[in-house]
Symmetry: D2
Subunit: 285 residues, 4 copies
Amino acid sequence: MSDRTYRIVLDCPDRIGIVTRVGEVITNNGGWIKEAAHYSDEENNWFFSRFEIKAESLSFSAEVLAQKFASLQKEFSMNLQVLDTSRPKKVVLMASKGSHCLSDLLDRWKSGDLECDIPCVISNHEDMRGMVEWYGIPYFCVPIDPSNKSVGFAEVERLVTEHETDCVVLARYMQILPPSLCQTLKHKVINIHHSFLPSFIGAKPYHQAAERGVKLIGATCHYVTEDLDEGPIIDQDVVRVKHSDKVEELVRRGKDVEKVVLARGLRAHLEDRVLVRGNKTVVFN
Amino acid sequence: MSDRTYRIVLDCPDRIGIVTRVGEVITNNGGWIKEAAHYSDEENNWFFSRFEIKAESLSFSAEVLAQKFASLQKEFSMNLQVLDTSRPKKVVLMASKGSHCLSDLLDRWKSGDLECDIPCVISNHEDMRGMVEWYGIPYFCVPIDPSNKSVGFAEVERLVTEHETDCVVLARYMQILPPSLCQTLKHKVINIHHSFLPSFIGAKPYHQAAERGVKLIGATCHYVTEDLDEGPIIDQDVVRVKHSDKVEELVRRGKDVEKVVLARGLRAHLEDRVLVRGNKTVVFN
Amino acid sequence: MSDRTYRIVLDCPDRIGIVTRVGEVITNNGGWIKEAAHYSDEENNWFFSRFEIKAESLSFSAEVLAQKFASLQKEFSMNLQVLDTSRPKKVVLMASKGSHCLSDLLDRWKSGDLECDIPCVISNHEDMRGMVEWYGIPYFCVPIDPSNKSVGFAEVERLVTEHETDCVVLARYMQILPPSLCQTLKHKVINIHHSFLPSFIGAKPYHQAAERGVKLIGATCHYVTEDLDEGPIIDQDVVRVKHSDKVEELVRRGKDVEKVVLARGLRAHLEDRVLVRGNKTVVFN
Amino acid sequence: MSDRTYRIVLDCPDRIGIVTRVGEVITNNGGWIKEAAHYSDEENNWFFSRFEIKAESLSFSAEVLAQKFASLQKEFSMNLQVLDTSRPKKVVLMASKGSHCLSDLLDRWKSGDLECDIPCVISNHEDMRGMVEWYGIPYFCVPIDPSNKSVGFAEVERLVTEHETDCVVLARYMQILPPSLCQTLKHKVINIHHSFLPSFIGAKPYHQAAERGVKLIGATCHYVTEDLDEGPIIDQDVVRVKHSDKVEELVRRGKDVEKVVLARGLRAHLEDRVLVRGNKTVVFN
């Protein structure tokens, strides 16, 4: 998308001097800050920070930069990562039969609007093989047998591991991931839920919305946890509906919000703008 | 706001000929249609219709026009009302200590942007007497004693009756109306709930929203029924919030949505655009 | 999408009796109104009307229904059309190199969310042949030679005619149609302009937006006329931008609005909800 | 609003070390950062920064803190201000006859939702004296004689000076400030323009909008400069309109956006989140 940067993303117990001490490491090595944001969660006494450094201003790799923070990290009990935008994240897309989110993400990717690699698409159906392969991306159909889901999910896990996946996107994947997989991929699986959470948790949210007679419907992009529909929210949005909209029409209108919110949430994640703590996110937009 | 019209608002079991037969009564009397909308709820086989007729095109009153529909009404088992925009509805505002909705509605009313009369304001506190009286509107403070609410609500009901009230607006009135009053004033009491229903039903929705970490908060304008927060929804909207927003900040941001949604919902009601059936509304916007 | 209907769309000089007289033709033939809306433009004394009739309630075709309005049409100097939803409009898509609108429309079409046929895609570049053909749609590459555009546009016109096109969608087609073609296809060509018109008329609107420092950018869906960017507006929307967004980022954010607004405007057109008079539209949503 | 902070707001030519060197001054004095954001405008090689420091973490005043940056300021050619949230800005409101923005701001102020003092309201009409005085705020009516405006504006300038004004808000003040006053109060006068700039610059934007047939109308909050409607934009928003909306209806709908956008822009200014450079703003939201 733009010039190469190193991104430093960190959180730690809050105290005096965090920005300055991190800044000193950056400056002493000649790092040029392009953008940065910091936030102190006073209620939980926790500090969150994100820096973007022009890569050309540093004479070494992201790994070496990370090492330079080692003692600081220890001293401040800091979670800290350094990411290099020249190494795009590997994002595995998972979908079922609905194509709108998958098709939207693939077009964004091909147009260069999503800074990631897509090593493969995994689906429990064959329906979208043609489209995915047209984009030159391997397609794996892994059926999920209702009477023995563990076989399918073992294969999913194998594929995710094999492709050195940084992030899994459930682009309207209609199966529930098993708790063990949620644990393994903690804060690495992004889902799009087709309601404005916490409204209409659970199945058939558009039916619930029609039943309640709401005037807006929404979509929620969140990290997947073992508690279905309860994970940390990354982004949400809504769209206006009419009294004359039947359920099918709500579904159709909802698709527009789903795909935009998923793409926006994923992009924030890919740009390392989303920091998770407990069940909430800090999003440095 | 604009030229005088008669509004015909009706609903009935759906069948062939409703629009035409109603239209014939209008046309045969020289009525000039300014705007009209019709909707057939196929699921429940029910028909909804609203006409605005230029008053000057008819040589008689709204009551006389209503009478001309008498036989049709019987034949079609029709609920039908004719309203004359030269007779603004009488709207009683109820509030507690929060001023944003009340102040907003009063300014709209004084500016001529709300087509209604406001015979009085009722509050369970004295706080806003000065402002309301500055607008030249009588202010009644009716405290609600937690140990004996019936006394207060009897007085509220008396005031509502005495002022020949067409509509009651709960402009952040923080007491729950007793079921009997809800029944008496069915589809005549409009409330603004400070959440995007059905999210965060019940008390302290902004605290619930902060706890859940949502990225948008909302407000819902609805008719009051005996089932708290469950009445037919008239309008809703949302506003974006940030991870750094504490509860007080959510409250502050929420006020902007609350007052706009309440004013919009009330306006639709005053323009007779809202038809209620069961727990849903048809809004002819 | 849903049950078959006949749509009656009309406009004429305003006078008493239009709805009723049209309604009588419908009712006398057993027509069941599913939805209808009427609007009187008092300033220009012009009346607009749209009815949806359940096709099953009538024992004859849309053509026959249209004939039954012949004398009324004459008497009221009415423009009137009857459309049959079982005969989807033929929509030719035109695009250049940018794929986001084209890809979005194709996915909606394949998912059954756009009620139309797409006989072909015409582009002045080869880039999107593969994707379009994957959808099973013929792709015609018609280069536009800057020094002699008339050759290319003659071929475009030939293709449009050959495919019995009801509607042409410029899905980010980056060439300006010649006035003669605009005339031939009056009110049949829908364009998506990448700004919130009338802001930033002309070339490079995102550069203009960046230069001016606006906080929202938008997109406008409109009918194409000989006056570039001046045609009747069907729909518009905006998206929030940040001070840190460079032009490329505005372009990226803008795409989301462009594709949604184009799809929404096209859908309104396909549902015969858009009536044009002079340089404005009536949209019966 | 919340706990007392010192805000450091600065901009300067971009180079390595700005955040770190500023941070060192903060940390060496025991300052606890609550929130901070930094942005490098690469195109113009300019750096913008904003820190919020918990006041209780420093043992001295904002003035003393500012002095501690003196040498840094010189070294980096820095514009730098330190503001103390316990000293609210003095905001003079100016209005004409339209009450919606003024009434809205006064209610927010009284509710504690605007962190400022309002030493007085200045109007060229008497209409709103009663309301303003009810809020306990002095009201000065300064008529502007069309044939000799300089007398009135001299009085305005005198009042602004006398009240040690930090910021002037034109809350639908319908007179154009003279260039000299714009110069004197550079980046201190906030206006709400009743269109989505740069659409419909100049007089009667709602008439222009009706004429063009747009589907959204908007409002723009900006700093006033000598070039009318051309000043740096702080915030903007839009609202949907209908084909049936006459100009008066656009005006009414527009008021909702005007007041919300003005309040939002003013709040950002009061929280020292808006940095101006050239004709653009950086808004650290």
